[in-house]
């Protein structure tokens, strides 16, 4: 029997893993698997795979390993694991399943000097076949490293002694105690400490704080050090690190303003000195932190929504940013639609085609339009460019002509063909496309919602866009406030067009108990704030226990961000007893939303921010009575949920929502009447049968 030991430092594709084990077992191997991976992944995903044993290996790093290369970190945290050592000793084939596990296999192979040591599934299979051909697997020998390796590792430890000593005086128990942690801040604040010493101390204290689990303290130590340092590069770097680690932990960053200011100031200095590459690096970091999804998108509030002018003002005052945002215009205006032949329409997106199906269907079937579709994500060379913000910035600062040449080569054939380009989602691919002059091709860009909270609209050259479509006036207002180019003389025409949705299929008869079921369609992001709906349910059940909440759609993925993970954890804790009691039904993802809506009598929009909330529209069309939270990101502004929907649908608080539901539901007739009115409104306002005329007008103008 040939013993094979798989080692991985991250989760692996399960289907490939299962297929490989099947083949190895068929060749007469016994496969064990040790993974420095989440135990829950092992427990859930590896059942049914024919491993002799699986074993979770440690995942947290040793403190001294934090800044080492990944492979070394993995080895240092698992090298003393007795299971690993025992299996490695008796293995005939040691297999690394990813780059992070290669060094561990290399080290184990120094100790088990007869085993084959390979990287990857197919080489493992080759090794087993070779051993099977040879007949007898090598006898096991002593499990210890060669003398040369022992000497090398000893020398390395001696070299690391000063660091070890420092680590001893900032040991975890000391830093965990609030007195110890505070004591260490004193020298960071002290005046007249040379910068070099202050920086070294700041870094070590931050490392120690993080190690003790006091991440807030770690960020504070870095920010405190940064505030006392005069070197702009190190100041920017320390603030950047402080804020990044706060965002990574899912907490609201306390030093975001200072980090953005110092990165922008440094970028401006570097640009003035002609050091474009470093200027771009700092500008890009400022934008990345300022518009981080952990700050705006995965949160229930956003400083950008609270005060848009103030939030973006600091960026617009940066000279480097001004350079990047300078409109470059186009040599020729867009040509009018052709008269002697069909309009050539290029519809393009970058992976997300959720809102394009009806549009593509309609214009593919018209004799007066010739459609081509380009999903940039399917073209690796284009896909790489669509997220290349640094290249976009460098090109605009005059530091990277190659980028524009590449975009020119890749996109010009499409622009030459098309009369009109319809680009969906105002993200990196819009910034990329507007790097070049579109010639006389008309460019239409559509912005849905979340793009407004990213850096991308600030990197799009709107002087090369003819029409900018929004799906709601509230987003038009916000984006126009945020992006100066949209207020300038070369601004594109702006429009509000509803999304293309087919609502007629949703009108079906309700089931008898639908009247007491509240529905929430789409719960996959923090902004949907399902806990608001849970609060509505709680208030209703105080009055009438027949009320239930039906949640339709995939759950939010905790891997999105730490902030998402935090929300999900809180949500699960709230939901568990309600699900147990039958008050909440979680239906999960479905392709048959219309079918699920037959059980739902009230449709909720509990979100903090939406463009139009498709689930709500579908619910309304189905004959569920809509109850819409006045989306807090836009509440009180000229346009908000109150202008997207009839005012009567919109409420300010869970209590007001519960009251509306109880009032509507006072009698079945009243509920039916409200439902019918809502359905009529939805079908006559948002159904594709009506909305498509707006798209005809947009694409074909007077030829309609």
């Amino acid at each position: 029997m040939i013993n094979v030991l798989f080692i991985s430092a991250k989760t692996r594709p399960v289907s490939v893993l299962a297929g490989s084990v099947r083949k190895l077992v068929a060749e007469g191997a016994r496969v064990s698997y040790g993974g420095s991976v989440p135990e829950s992944w092992m427990a859930k995903k590896l059942t049914g795979i024919d491993f002799v044993e699986t074993h979770p290996l440690r995942r947290s790093n040793l403190r001294r390993a934090v800044d080492l290369p990944f492979g070394e970190r993995v080895w240092l945290r698992i090298h003393s694991d007795s299971w690993l050592r025992a299996r490695a000793r008796e293995a005939h084939v040691l297999v690394a399943l990813d780059d992070g596990a290669v060094y561990t296999v290399w080290q184990l192979a120094q100790r088990n000097r007869t085993a084959k040591a390979v990287n990857g599934f197919a080489p493992a299979l080759d090794a087993v076949r070779e051993l099977a051909r040879e007949g007898e697997a090598a006898a096991l020998r002593a499990f210890r490293p060669p003398v040369s390796l022992v000497v090398r590792e000893f020398a390395r430890r001696v070299r690391g002694l000063p660091g070890s000593l420092e680590r001893t005086v900032t040991a975890r128990p000391i830093m965990r105690s609030s007195i110890g942690a505070r004591l260490w801040r004193v020298p960071l604040r002290a005046p007249a400490v040379p910068d070099k010493l202050r920086i070294a101390m700041g870094r070590r204290v931050a490392e120690a704080m993080n190690w003790a689990g006091k991440y807030g303290g770690g960020s504070y130590a870095l920010a405190l050090t940064a505030s006392k340092i005069s070197d702009p590069a190190i100041k920017a770097e320390l603030y950047d690190k402080a804020v990044s680690q706060e965002i990574d932990r899912g907490t609201g960053p306390k030093h975001l303003d200072q980090a953005i200011q110092s990165l922008l100031a440094h970028a401006d200095d570097l640009q003035a000195a002609g050091e474009y590459k470093d200027a771009v690096k700092n500008l890009s970091r400022a934008l990345a932190l300022g518009f981080h999804r952990g700050v705006h998108i995965d949160q229930l509030a956003s400083p950008l929504a609270a005060d848009p002018e103030a939030f973006v003002g600091r960026f617009h005052r940066s000279r480097a940013m001004q350079t990047v945002m300078t409109p470059r215009g186009r040599v020729r205006p867009a040509a009018p639609p052709p008269t002697g032949r069909p309009l050539r329409l290029l519809v393009t997106t970058n992976a997300n085609d959720n809102f394009l199906h009806h549009i593509l269907d309609r214009y593919r079937n018209r004799h007066d339009v010739e459609v081509r579709y380009l999903d940039m994500a399917t073209r690796p060379s284009l896909k790489r460019l669509t997220w290349a913000d640094r290249k976009v910035m460098a090109e605009r600062m005059g530091g990277d002509d190659e980028h524009a040449a590449l975009v020119e080569d890749l996109m010009r054939p499409y622009l030459d063909w098309a009369d009109t380009v319809f680009l969906d989602w105002c993200l990196g691919h819009a910034a990329m496309l507007t790097t070049i002059d579109p010639g006389d091709t008309r460019i239409i860009v559509r912005l849905h919602s979340y793009e407004a909270f990213t850096r991308w609209p600030h990197l799009v050259d709107f002087s090369r866009v003819d029409d900018l479509i929004f799906v709601g006036s509230h987003l038009l207002d916000l984006t126009t406030t945020l992006v100066p180019q949209l207020r300038g003389p070369q601004a594109p025409r702006t429009h509000v067009l509803h999304n293309a949705v087919e609502l007629s299929a949703f009108t079906r008869e309700k089931t008898s108990d639908a009247r007491f079921n509240l529905g929430l369609v789409g719960v996959g992001q923090v902004v949907k704030d399902p806990l608001w709906a849970v609060e509505v349910l709680r208030l209703l059940r105080e009055e009438d226990e027949r009320y239930r909440l039906v949640m339709v759609g995939a759950d939010m993925d905790p891997k999105f961000s730490r902030a998402t993970k935090k929300y999900r954890k809180k949500m699960e804790a709230k939901l568990a007893p309600l699900v147990e009691a039958g008050a909440v039904l979680r239906l999960g993802p479905t392709k048959d939303v219309a079918g699920k809506l037959t059980d739902i009598g009230f449709i909720l929009s509990s979100s903090v921010r939406e463009s139009a909330h498709l689930g709500l529209m579908e619910g309304a069309a189905s004959g569920a009575v809509p109850v819409v939270r006045d989306w807090p990101f836009f509440a009180g502004k000229t346009h908000s949920a109150r202008t997207v929907y009839p005012n009567g649908w919109v409420v300010d608080t869970p209590a007001a929502a519960a009251q509306r539901i109880l009032e509507v539901n006072a009698t079945e007739e009243n509920w039916l009447e409200s439902a019918e009115l809502a359905s009529k409104h939805a079908l006559s306002t948002w159904d594709w049968a009506f909305v498509r005329a707006d798209f005809d007008q947009m694409f074909l103008g007077e030829r309609r």
């Binding site: 289907s15 490939v16 290669v102 990287n119 992976a351 579709y373 690796p380 060379s381 080569d409």
Partner: protein
């Protein structure tokens, strides 16, 4: 290459092929020994002990530095390799290749050297033999070098190290072979003085890879769609094809129990057979998709014989033709195109009676193409099938390569006449 060598041997030449050892080929994506069985026995094969270090999977061969940071180590390896010849992964083969051709020439003087690319490092060997012994050479360039065929743009400017190498080597080459018109146009425009030496030698297909006869489609037991070829397209591209397949399967009764078999090499080195594309395919099992790994050349015909329609998934655009398109045509089966509309494969397929046409890479359009192909598989006549196969006849590799070799030999004769 096999056909080229065989054609030279058939025309009375004493042929030596310089290649790398089997285990080095195995590192790339695996070895198919059935391919070498049909090499003319008169052809001598010299296998050099060169291997691609970046693809090494034996960790005992790794230095500690490489083991600690494999990706970083490979990046710095590529930088080092390009100091010798401007080509990552192969640049450091230059000396060994040059030594090998000089030694072979010394043992048995050559009248002609034909360098095939990739790797482009082979060009250095051709140049060396020309410099040292004035042995005439031709370049079988396939997809060219200074044209990036995937993106359809110049890959490097003339005033670069690669540009200088290409220009230097091509200036003395007696003939330059490329696979299609757009690439030929690129070279004729870039080097006008060489325009008459640029020849189109299409990839073509091997007759022994085509099924003997068409199996009647049997919707009862499930239609079988197939893809055979290297899985070199992106995950997103594949995902779009699979989405199209799922959509077609859910709406077309003929496809309700259909299967989609994908065969071919995927990934190399440590990722051989285990890249994200392979995982995506294995995950789609519930949709009737299977991934069965590579097929030995000798089994290709029997694999095609089990299928009812072909799915032609190709990267790139107007500069890419691929070899697959010829082989697919020769099956006489309906073909679903999953590639850019403006692709050279579309030009080759134009007029094929069982082709569903170019529709780009979009789920809905592909779904329509799958549905149409299902109907073609069931409803097409023997006459259409025969016509489809006849469409491919002009592209048999034997015909193409024998003409190319004859023409090259003629050119060589003329060159000799000029110099004598």
């Amino acid at each position: 290459m096999r056909e080229t060598a065989n054609q030279f041997a058939a025309q009375g030449w004493d042929v030596t092929v310089v290649t790398i050892k089997d285990e080095s080929w195995a590192l790339e994506s695996g070895v198919d020994h059935s391919l070498s069985q049909k090499v003319d026995p008169r052809v001598k094969v010299v296998k050099l002990p060169l291997r691609r270090e970046d693809l090494e999977t034996d960790i005992r061969r790794f230095s500690e530095q490489r083991a600690v940071s494999p990706a970083w180590w490979v990046r710095s390896l590529r930088d080092r390799q390009q100091e010798m010849f401007p080509e990552p992964n192969f640049g450091d083969w230059k000396d060994a290749l040059e030594d090998a051709v000089l030694r072979l020439h010394k043992e048995n003087p050559a009248d002609l050297l034909l360098a095939t690319c990739v790797p482009y490092t082979n060009l250095a060997a051709a140049w060396k033999l020309w410099e040292e012994a004035r042995v005439p050479y031709a370049v079988d360039f396939r997809d060219g070098w200074s044209i990036d065929v995937i993106d359809g743009r110049e890959a490097f400017i003339a005033d670069s190290e690669k540009g200088r190498w290409e220009s230097r080597v091509l200036s003395s080459a007696i003939s330059l072979w490329v696979v299609n018109d757009p690439i030929a146009e690129h070279y004729r425009a870039r080097y006008p003085q060489l325009a008459d030496r640029v020849h189109i030698v299409r990839n073509g297909y091997d007759v022994d890879s085509t099924p003997v006869r068409k199996r009647p489609a049997d919707p009862e037991s499930g239609l079988v769609f197939g893809y055979l070829g290297t899985i070199n397209f992106s995950v997103e591209h594949l995902r779009t094809v699979l989405n199209g397949w799922r959509a077609a399967r859910s709406r077309e009764p003929l496809l309700a129990n259909a299967r989609f078999e994908v065969r071919g090499y995927s990934g190399h080195g440590a990722l051989r057979g285990a890249n994200p594309q392979a995982d995506l395919l294995l995950d789609a099992e519930a949709d009737g998709v299977t991934y069965g790994g590579p097929v030995a050349k000798a089994e290709v015909a029997s694999i095609y014989a089990r299928w009812d329609a072909m799915v032609l998934i190709l990267i790139g655009g107007r500069y890419v033709t691929s070899g697959k398109v010829y082989e697919y045509m020769a099956t006489g089966l309906p073909i679903v195109s999953a590639h850019a509309i403006d692709h050279d494969a579309s030009n080759v397929l134009q007029g094929h009676p069982l082709w569903t046409g170019p529709r780009g890479v979009a789920g809905k359009a592909l779904a329509d193409a799958f549905v149409e192909a299902a109907h073609l598989a069931v409803e097409s006549t023997d006459e259409q099938h025969t016509k489809a196969m006849a469409h491919a006849d002009q592209f048999t590799r034997e015909i193409i390569m024998s003409a190319a070799v004859r023409q090259l030999v003629d050119v060589l004769g003329l060159e000799k006449g000029r110099t004598q």
